[in-house]
Every structure is written in structure tokens, then in C-alpha cells.
């Protein structure tokens, strides 16, 4: 069977499953629409959280980024998993006990302030839109490469599918679709990884394979030693050594970790389980399921890097395999024969280097480079779509609840009935899908840059406000609001300056204390903590009912 037909079959089957789940799990109340009636078993919530979390970036780009960054790629590996420990220990159980629908619900009630609620709503909407634009783009890229349809048509098909199950089922529909999507994406990710691990090292488990010796046919010796050697031969830094300063690595990792723990679309997943204990347990399941992919990614990165260098370096250009041409046609691989010898020079020195390879290719083309069968390649398409759609749906729900619940019901129109609120939620999700689709078709040039924004803002706004709200009874609205505003303004200014106003200055010499814009969220977070605590000391204590509420959520099983 041809690759394209296989891809159509795989993608078609998964889409039918998603639509089937949507029809089965329609939501009939706001409770079902916002938090799936708080009836999701921990295991299902763990699977759904994992799919919610792992986006097109995790599935398509991450192994490629690690492959190019070597050891420094660990900022993403740890940064996007370590936050779950903070979520499980410091946030999820208490917010579950609080028992409302959204993150702005908690911020607004805990700090008895509509201003605090509105700051939280604006942050939640901004962070989610930033994130969702990238997902829609991912859907378009997968469609255009694997199904050879127009990228815009691809985005439209993706929008229709998400629209269908998000509008019908709300959180309930999204949750059970995400469970299916996790199964699709993890299978699609693991199959090629296992194949390649066996081909290169004879080891079935990729996590162990990339620390093993290469097969005799590939020359033997430890794979990572070989890779270090190849890198040094070509003038790159050794793969297993870092290039970035320890301080910058530390700050970027911390910003991603605190950002993860403050992202609203992740936090609300823990409102959907029936108890505090279930919230803890599902955080454990979620991280376990995420870890399967996140520990495989660095293995794929090392395998692919070795394969790529072996295949292309000093090879005759006209003898390159078919995949090289396919990716060259859509400009993800570019070759410029600078010295005119007809061979590909792939080296660190930019004056001599003749080849540029887009990092996304590491996952998308890996099965082709390793000459795996067509059905494995078709799987990658279905997996990439599952990763992008599941994350997009979770984000769209946050945007919709922020508008219908936090903005309308809890602020502007407190008297609307539940039925009206549900209608507004569905209308809001409709417009959110349309805006997300628009960004997918006309991507703003800065999608990559704004990712630093999403995590930086979540780390410098939500994380300290939530943690202080639980662990400090004395924290009041003056402290929290001034802390959040200081954290956001500081972080946003630093990122906007280096990414938009003066991108030419975005080098280590100009950064404050050598901290890159990706890591500045950590400083913003510290600033938020300090200002909150100081301002709180000089302003009145919170009212007694708020104090009681905090004491109640600290002890499970009590009505709050």
C-alpha cells in the first residue's frame, strides 16, 4: 500500500474515534462542561493530562531540539516534567479541595478582589492563545507534508474536528478524546524509537539503547562516545557536554518548571477528579505517562543525530536518498554547494557548512532516514495530529471558561442562568477556535518567541500567587496583586525588549547577569514573591472568611 493511502487510513480512523467519543460524551450542565462533573477517574485523568500537556512541540520538535543542543537540551526535558512535582505537592490537591471551576476562580476568591480575578483572566487568555496558535500550525504542517493537502485546508480540517468535540462535550468530551489521543500519540512515538534502537544497538528499550554499544555492522563502541567523536571531528562541541552557562541553564529550567506548575490548562485538569487523593494520584499517573515520551526523546535525539551525520557528511549530493529530496522540496532541508565538489559538507563552521536541516525533521523524517516500513511513517502523522489537537482542545476550553465563567458569570453578568452560561461557553469556544485557526493559517512571525512568554508569564504571575495563597494565611490582596503586576511587567518588559524591540542585542553579553529571555521568568517569579511578602506586611490582614477558607483547603475532606 502506498504511504499516502496508509496515512489517510490511519488519520481517518483516529478522527472517526474522536468524533464518536464526542457524540457519546455530550455535556448538559456547566459542571460537566467546565470540569467533566468532577467524575473523571485518576487513571483517565492522568492519560488526559499527559495528552493535554504534550503538544505539537513535544511530539514534533523536542527530540530535534535536544538533538541540536546535546546536553543543554535537558532544560526542556527537566523543565517540562519537573513542574509536575510542584503541581502534585503544592498546588493540585489544595485547588481540588477548593472545588471551583477555574484558576481565576481561586485567585479572585482567595484574594477577595475583582482586580485580582481580572489580572488572572487576562493572563490565562493571553497564555492560552499564545500556545494554541502553535498547535494549529502543527496540524497544518502535518497535513501538508503527509497528506499533501494545502496547509490552510489542513488547519480548517483540524479546526472542524476540535470544534466538534469541544463545543459538544466541553471538558467531558475533551477528557475522553484526550485519553484516546494519548494512546495514539505514544504508540506513534514509541514504535519508530524501538525499531531504531534495535537497528542501531540491538536493544529493545530506547532509554537503555542510547547508552549501549553500537551493533557490529555500525562499527561497535558506545553510541554516545561515537557521537561525541563525530561532533568533535566536525568542529561541534561534544554532544554530552554543555555549551550554555550553568547559571543560564539553571534559570531556564526553573522558569519552565514554575511555568508548567502555573499553566491554567494543566491546573484545571485536576478539578475534574472526584477527590483530593485522586488529584495527587492522577498527577503521578500523568507524569508517568509523560515520562515515557520524555525519556524516549533524548534517545531518539542521539540515534537521529548519529544517523544524520553518518548519512549526509561528505556524501555525494546526487546520490542522496528520496527523503532528502522530499524535505528539500518544502525547504526544511537546504543545501548550498559552496566549494563546488558535489559533496555535502556538514560542519560547525558557518563559512564552510553547506547543509541546513530543520530540527522538526528529526522526528518527522526519522523513520524514513532509518528506512522503516511505510506504516510506521503513516503512524507519525496520526500521532502528530493527536498531540496537536489534544493540546489545542485543552487550551480552547481555558479560553472559553475564562470568558463565560470568570468574566461574565463571576464579574459582569452575575445573574445569568446556568443554561445561558453554558450557551456563552459554547459561543466563546466557537470564537476561540476561529481565532486559533486564523493564527494557524496566518501565523504571526513570532510564534517561537512567544513560547518564552507563555512560560515566563505563568511563572511570574500564577505560580507565586497560588502558592502564597495556600501556604501563607496572612497573604492579602494588596500583596498578591502588586506581586503579580510587578512580576508580569518585569518579565514582559525584558522579553519584549530582547525579542521584539532590539532582537540584535539578544546575546549573552547584553543579558542581565547572563540570564536569557527564556530564563527571566525565574527572576520575575522571585520578584513577585518578594514584593508580595513585603507589601503584605504593611497592609491589613485578609478577612476572617478568607482565613477560614485557606485553613479548610489545607485539610482534605472538610467542606469549604
Amino acid at each position: 500500500m502506498s504511504l499516502q493511502l496508509l496515512t489517510y487510513i490511519f488519520v481517518g480512523i483516529t478522527f472517526i474515534v474522536y468524533i464518536g467519543i464526542a457524540i457519546w460524551s455530550r455535556a448538559s450542565s456547566t459542571q460537566e462542561f467546565y470540569i467533566a462533573g468532577a467524575h473523571v477517574p485518576p487513571l483517565a485523568n492522568g492519560l488526559a493530562t499527559a495528552a493535554d500537556w504534550m503538544s505539537a512541540a513535544s511530539f514534533i520538535s523536542m527530540a530535534g531540539i535536544v538533538s541540536y543542543m546535546g546536553r543543554d537540551g535537558s532544560v526542556y526535558l527537566m523543565g517540562w516534567t519537573g513542574g509536575y512535582v510542584l503541581l502534585a505537592l503544592m498546588i493540585a490537591p489544595y485547588l481540588r479541595d477548593f472545588g471551583k471551576f477555574t484558576v481565576p476562580d481561586f485567585i479572585g476568591d482567595r484574594y477577595y478582589s475583582q482586580l485580582a480575578r481580572m489580572v488572572a483572566v487576562v493572563c490565562a487568555i493571553f497564555v492560552s492563545f499564545t500556545y494554541v496558535a502553535g498547535q494549529m500550525r502543527g496540524v497544518g504542517v502535518v497535513f501538508s507534508r503527509f497528506l499533501e493537502v494545502d496547509i490552510n485546508l489542513g488547519v480548517l480540517i483540524g479546526m472542524t474536528i476540535v470544534f466538534f468535540y469541544a463545543v459538544l462535550g466541553g471538558m467531558k468530551g475533551i477528557t475522553y478524546t484526550q485519553v484516546a489521543q494519548y494512546c495514539v500519540l505514544i504508540f506513534a512515538y514509541m514504535v519508530p524509537a524501538v525499531f531504531i534502537s534495535i537497528l542501531m544497538t540491538g536493544n529493545v528499550i530506547p532509554q537503555i539503547g542510547f547508552g549501549s554499544e553500537l551493533n557490529e555492522s555500525m562499527g561497535g563502541g558506545y553510541l554516545l562516545d561515537r557521537l561525541d567523536g563525530l561532533h568533535q571531528e566536525l568542529g561541534f562541541a561534544a554532544y554530552t557536554a554543555g555549551v550554555r552557562s550553568s547559571l543560564d541553564v539553571l534559570f531556564i529550567t526553573a522558569a519552565l518548571i514554575m511555568g508548567t506548575a502555573g499553566l491554567p490548562h494543566v491546573i484545571i485538569r485536576f478539578f475534574t477528579v472526584p477527590s483530593v487523593r485522586a488529584a495527587r494520584k492522577s498527577a503521578g499517573y500523568a507524569l508517568f505517562f509523560i515520562a515515557i515520551l520524555y525519556t524516549t526523546a533524548p534517545a531518539i535525539a542521539a540515534f537521529a543525530r548519529t544517523n544524520l551525520i553518518n548519512t549526509v557528511n561528505n556524501a555525494v549530493y546526487t546520490e542522496m536518498p528520496v527523503w532528502f529530496r522530499t524535505w528539500e522540496n518544502i525547504n526544511l532541508i537546504t543545501f548550498d554547494d559552496k566549494n563546488g565538489d558535489g559533496r555535502i559538507q556538514y560542519v560547525a563552521d558557518p563559512d564552510i557548512n553547506e547543509l541546513n536541516v530543520d530540527r522538526d525533521i528529526i522526528v518527522l523524517a526519522n523513520p524514513e532516514i532509518a528506512q522503516l516500513p511505510n506504516w510506521v511513517i503513516a503512524l507519525i502523522a496520526a500521532g502528530g495530529l493527536a498531540a496537536a489537537l489534544s493540546t489545542a482542545a485543552g487550551l480552547l476550553l481555558v479560553i472559553s471558561t475564562s470568558i463565560s465563567h470568570d468574566l461574565l458569570k463571576r464579574n459582569l453578568m452575575p445573574n445569568i442562568s446556568e443554561k445561558q452560561e453554558l450557551k456563552f461557553a459554547r459561543i466563546a469556544i466557537f470564537f476561540a477556535v476561529c481565532i486559533a485557526g486564523y493564527f494557524g493559517i496566518n501565523p504571526p512571525g513570532f510564534v517561537a518567541q512567544v513560547v518564552a512568554f507563555a512560560f515566563g508569564l505563568a511563572a511570574s504571575s500564577f505560580f507565586p500567587a497560588i502558592v502564597l495563597g495556600i501556604f501563607s494565611v496572612r497573604m492579602n490582596k494588596e500583596g498578591a496583586v502588586s506581586g503579580m503586576i510587578a512580576g508580569i511587567v518585569f518579565t514582559a518588559t525584558y522579553i519584549i525588549y530582547f525579542k521584539f524591540i532590539n532582537p540584535a542585542a539578544d546575546t549573552a553579553e547584553n543579558w542581565w547577569f547572563g540570564i536569557s529571555p527564556e530564563g527571566i521568568g525565574t527572576v520575575g517569579m522571585l520578584l513577585n514573591f518578594i514584593i508580595s511578602v513585603v507589601v503584605c506586611r504593611f497592609t491589613p490582614a485578609p478577612p476572617q472568611d478568607v482565613v477560614d477558607m485557606v485553613l479548610d483547603i489545607r485539610v482534605p475532606g472538610k467542606p469549604s
Partner: protein, 96 residues
């Protein structure tokens, strides 16, 4: 009652301090600050520091959450904070 809640909270904080202490050492000391020193040790084809940064830290995170779940179960049992299991109750309601 508040007295009891206070003791419960203090023990909860103690658990968090221990587990988050381990989390900090694994994430920031072993995988970032002292990674080059640990790289001297080798396990098979892995340098230990590199392995911690790209594999080990993630395994430790998963273990930490399940240890926390267990420790909190014990603590809640000690203070009789048993939660109702809504899902199981509904299932038995339907069965009967």
C-alpha cells in the same frame, strides 16, 4: 479541632520539605551545577551527570509523586481524614 489541624499541617509541611529537598538536589545540583563533576563516573555508555540531566531526574520526579501519595495516605489515616470515594460508592449503588 483547630489544634489537630495545626499539627496535621505541620507534618504535611515536613513531608513537603523532605521531598522538595530531594527534588531540588536532583534537578538543580546534580543535573546542572555539578553535572561536570558527576560526568567522571560512568554507567555503561552514559556519563552519570549527562544521564541525570536527560533521564535520571525524570525517573526521580515520578517516584517522588508516588512516595508523596503514600506518605499523605499514611498521614490522613493517622488523623482520620478519610475521604469518601464518590466513584466507588456510585458503582456499588448501581450494583445494588
Amino acid at each position: 479541632m483547630r489544634e489537630d489541624d495545626n499539627k496535621y499541617w505541620q507534618e504535611n509541611i515536613r513531608i513537603l520539605k523532605i521531598l522538595l529537598g530531594i527534588w531540588f538536589v536532583v534537578s538543580f545540583l546534580m543535573s546542572v551545577i555539578f553535572v561536570d563533576q558527576l560526568d567522571v563516573i560512568r554507567i555503561g555508555g552514559f556519563k552519570f551527570g549527562f544521564w541525570m540531566a536527560q533521564q535520571g531526574s525524570i525517573y526521580v520526579y515520578v517516584i517522588l509523586i508516588f512516595v508523596y501519595l503514600k506518605m499523605m495516605d499514611n498521614l490522613n489515616h493517622k488523623y482520620h481524614h478519610e475521604e469518601k470515594d464518590i466513584l466507588a460508592e456510585e458503582k456499588s449503588d448501581q450494583a445494588s
